[in-house]
Amino acid sequence: MYPIIIAAEAAKDAEKAASFAPFDPWHFPSQIFWLVVLFGTLYIVLSRIILPRIGSTLERRESTIASDLDEAARLNEEAVDAQKAVDVSIAKAHAKARETADKARGKIDKEIATETAKVDAEVDKKLAEAETRISALRADAMQNVEGIAVDAAASVLGKFGSKATDANLKAAVKTALEEG
């Protein structure tokens, strides 16, 4: 039984091999027709509608990126300029501050100098006054010392029983003071 079936299958197979499906001509017109229709449709839809749109999207993206980069470069330049301006104004402010400080210092120095001079003058004056007074007092004191010495000398001489004139005593005392 089997050999018969196998033989039948083989026969069917041989028949099939004779009409190899891709080369079976009955479907050629249909294949050609549908290929032309479908390939043509795909070509028209792609070339008229889809591809130009994708192309314009890509172009738009490219130009957007380029303009964004330009904008970024411009803003960067602006930022650099602004930084420079800030630096300049900071330097100016520094200079002005220094100037003001210098001026103030000069003024204060001057005031200090005048005040010092004034105080010095007063002190000098007071010192001079004090010195005059001291020398006056000293002279006075010296005067007194002379009197006392003359008195003492007169009394000493009186004890010895001799007398001397005032003028002599005074002269002697003076000499003694000057020598001593």
């Binding site: 479907h27 249909s30 294949q31 027709f33 032309v36 390939f39 795909l42 999207t57």
Partner: protein
């Protein structure tokens, strides 16, 4: 024994064209809507849907699907620029349609039970003929008779006798290679898709019959199954590669039409 599988696993069955709808004949020719036309329509619809989405979204910042569509656009544009130069871009819509028509057909064919439209020589042959017709017509229109310089490259300074001898050998070779172009272009795609799908079906069939036969078949079946898996991966590569080869050879031939001097 196992004759049930014998019929189901017939590796040629997948290439059979079956009518889905009868249509009235056009000029006496049967143009019924077949499974071949159906899967071709599916490829075209998917292609339009995919790129239509990318085109209609059109945002400056793309999402993944839009980005994929745009990468496809850039890929084909770069392919043309690389082989045919900037002037080649006038054929951009044609090469783009050709590449993605074939790619979608090949990839849809990788799905089980699907029909592979590119596994029929009538389809690939017509596409190749279209390419060569465009090359010849455009080449003649743009370059006039200089287009035939394609067959006789300039030899520079040489005695006239030497030139004659070289041309006598060279021109027939060039003419034959030009005529062979549509044949090789169509046969390459057709044979690759046909052979790949036959192999896939054969190894899958071995796996099934091996298991049902038992005995040594139980050893063969896993090997055949593993081979089928490996071939499946290879066929995906072939599906992409053959679409690419078809498109890039189209660009090369178009380059000849644009710049006929070698």
């Amino acid at each position: 024994m196992n004759l049930f599988f014998y019929g189901a696993a017939d590796p040629m069955k997948q290439f059979e064209v079956q009518k889905w709808f009868e249509l009235p004949p056009l000029f006496g020719y049967d143009i019924s809507f077949t499974n071949a036309a159906g899967f071709m329509l599916l490829g075209v619809v998917l292609c339009i849907a995919f790129f239509g989405y990318a085109a209609s979204r059109g945002k400056i910042v793309p999402n993944r699907l839009q980005s994929m569509g745009e990468i496809g656009y850039g890929f084909v544009a770069d392919m043309i620029r690389g082989t045919a130069g900037e002037e080649g871009l006038r054929f951009f819509p044609f090469v783009f349609t050709l590449f993605f028509f074939i790619l979608f057909a090949n990839l849809i064919g990788m799905s089980p039970y699907a029909f592979t439209t590119t596994s029929h020589l009538i389809v690939t042959g017509l596409l190749a003929l279209l390419v060569i017709s465009i090359v010849v017509v455009f080449g003649l229109w743009k370059n006039g008779l200089k287009f035939f310089g394609l067959f006789a490259p300039s030899l520079g300074d040489m005695p006239i006798l030497g030139k004659l001898v070289i041309y006598a050998i060279l021109i027939p070779i060039e003419v034959i290679s030009f005529i062979a172009r549509p044949l090789t272009l169509s046969l390459r795609l057709f044979a690759n898709m046909l052979a790949g799908h036959i192999l896939l079906k054969l190894f899958a069939g071995f796996a099934v019959t091996g298991i049902t036969a038992g005995g040594i078949g139980l050893v063969v079946a896993p090997l055949a199954f593993g081979m089928g898996v490996a071939l499946n991966a290879l066929e995906f590569l072939v599906a992409g590669l053959q679409a690419y080869v078809f498109a890039i050879l189209t660009c090369v031939y178009l380059n000849d039409a644009l710049h006929p001097s070698h």
